[in-house]
């Protein structure tokens, strides 16, 4: 999985590519731990994310809980595969998603 990170003041954009699953979720967790302090708007750009598993959803949920306290979190540009996962798991009702 690739993670490109761009910070702009209190805004943080993480662009993910590849597969977010049990074996790559720790990579995203590490990136979050390193960069989340002081962030008020967190954007995940999923345009190049091919797949997300339940382990990836768990990370999103944990980050959502943090961002509920310190600002907002937006998931942008999920492709059809990822959108389908959000739909069948009910995450489309939990997350703020921008197509």
């Amino acid at each position: 999985m690739t993670i490109d990170i761009k910070a702009d003041g209190t805004d943080l954009t993480m662009t993910l590519g590849g597969r977010l699953d049990t074996t790559t979720a720790p990579q995203l967790e590490a990136a979050i731990r390193t960069n989340i302090a002081g962030v008020e708007k967190l954007v995940f750009d999923f345009e190049d994310l091919d797949y997300i598993s339940s382990a990836g959803l768990r990370v999103l949920l944990s980050v959502q809980k943090i961002m509920n306290k310190q600002g907002e979190m937006i998931v942008r540009h999920p492709n059809e595969s990822v959108s389908d996962v959000f739909e069948v798991t009910g995450f489309s009702d939990i997350l703020t998603i921008e197509e």
């Binding site: 597969r19 720790p26 967790e29 990136a31 979050i32 390193t34 339940s54 949920l61 595969s81 069948v88």
Partner: protein, 298 residues
């Protein structure tokens, strides 16, 4: 799927590589971590261990699309060269093993010679290495990491989660296609490809429960077979139990090393001094050198 109550962001940041005195000196001297080809693991059955939880999961699972389960023959494949995601070539997996336990008698026991312990562990920053590996922009090179799963129920549960998720999505996509009056096996192929890919990844992180005291954490590199190496990832071969085995050495930065711990041994103070002198000579400044706290009785 249970996604509540797991604060996955609070994991430990330090992981520990247990090694021999020669291994420690080599890492500090060369500032490299050696990733072993998964076909050459000490336990050669490790790569195919997943068959056990997979068979249990397949007996237990109830899918709306039972044709997914009929494809099990290919899921139990044990090839060591695996197609890269874009089908441009084949890749092999290289693994670097660590433990989440900073002072494990179980792990020290692998480094007993005669009647004395002769091991060391190197404490490494998991986050820094993860960040570093994630930034290596090499075509078709993939990086994975995480704890090894030992508990059969946990392994089965991960496989069931995967199968049930793909089953639900397959149903959704088939319904859409039916509504459009189209016939296509694409939804099935996509589900099968995802299951194949995820099982291939799981197998590198599943081990028999007998090894649970190792509390292993792994970094895994999926490397195209035609990758020739570069300044940071150096291809090489070494002799392991009489077998010529391929490996990849990853160049690291000195700040990734947080500590060195000396195993319980008769001359722990002397061993600690030896590490201090070696580290000082090699220019290391930042890591702590500790002695094991395990009281060994003879």
């Amino acid at each position: 799927m249970d996604v509540s109550g797991l604060n996955v962001l609070n994991r430990k940041l330090e992981v520990y590589h247990y090694t021999s005195p020669e291994g420690l000196m080599s890492i500090l001297d060369e500032m490299t971590l050696r990733f072993s080809d998964c076909q050459f693991f000490n336990d050669t059955s490790e790569y195919t261990f997943i068959n056990t939880p997979l068979e249990h999961a397949l007996k237990r699972v109830k899918l709306k699309n039972p044709d997914l389960v009929y494809e099990t023959d290919s899921w139990l494949d044990d090839q060591y060269e695996y197609p890269t995601a874009d089908n441009k070539g084949m890749a092999r997996y290289y693994v670097f093993c660590m433990s989440l336990d900073p002072d494990s008698l179980h792990m020290w026991n692998y480094y007993v010679k005669g009647k004395s312990y002769q091991g060391y562990n190197i404490g490494l920053s998991s986050d820094q290495i993860t960040d570093y590996l994630g930034k290596l922009k090499i075509d078709n090179l993939d990086f994975m990491c995480g704890p090894v799963h030992y508990e059969p129920e946990e392994q089965i549960s991960l496989i069931l989660d995967l199968l049930e998720q793909e089953d639900a999505i397959l149903s959704l996509r088939r319904k859409r296609i039916r509504e459009k009056g189209i016939e296509s096996d694409e939804p099935f192929r996509r589900a099968k490809d995802n299951i194949d890919e995820e099982l291939e990844r799981f197998r590198l992180f599943f081990k028999d429960r007998a090894f649970r005291d190792e509390h292993e954490f792994r970094f895994v590199l999926k490397v195209p077979v035609d990758f020739e190496g570069n300044d940071l990832l150096i291809r090489g071969t070494s002799v392991k139990n009489g077998v010529i085995a391929p490996h990849i050495d990853l160049k690291i930065k000195s700040e990734f090393i947080r500590s060195v711990t000396v195993s319980p041994m008769m001359d722990a103070d002397l061993a600690k001094t030896g590490v201090e002198l070696f580290a000082e000579r090699k220019g290391y400044r930042s890591f702590e050198i500790k002695k094991s706290k395990i009281p060994i009785r003879y």
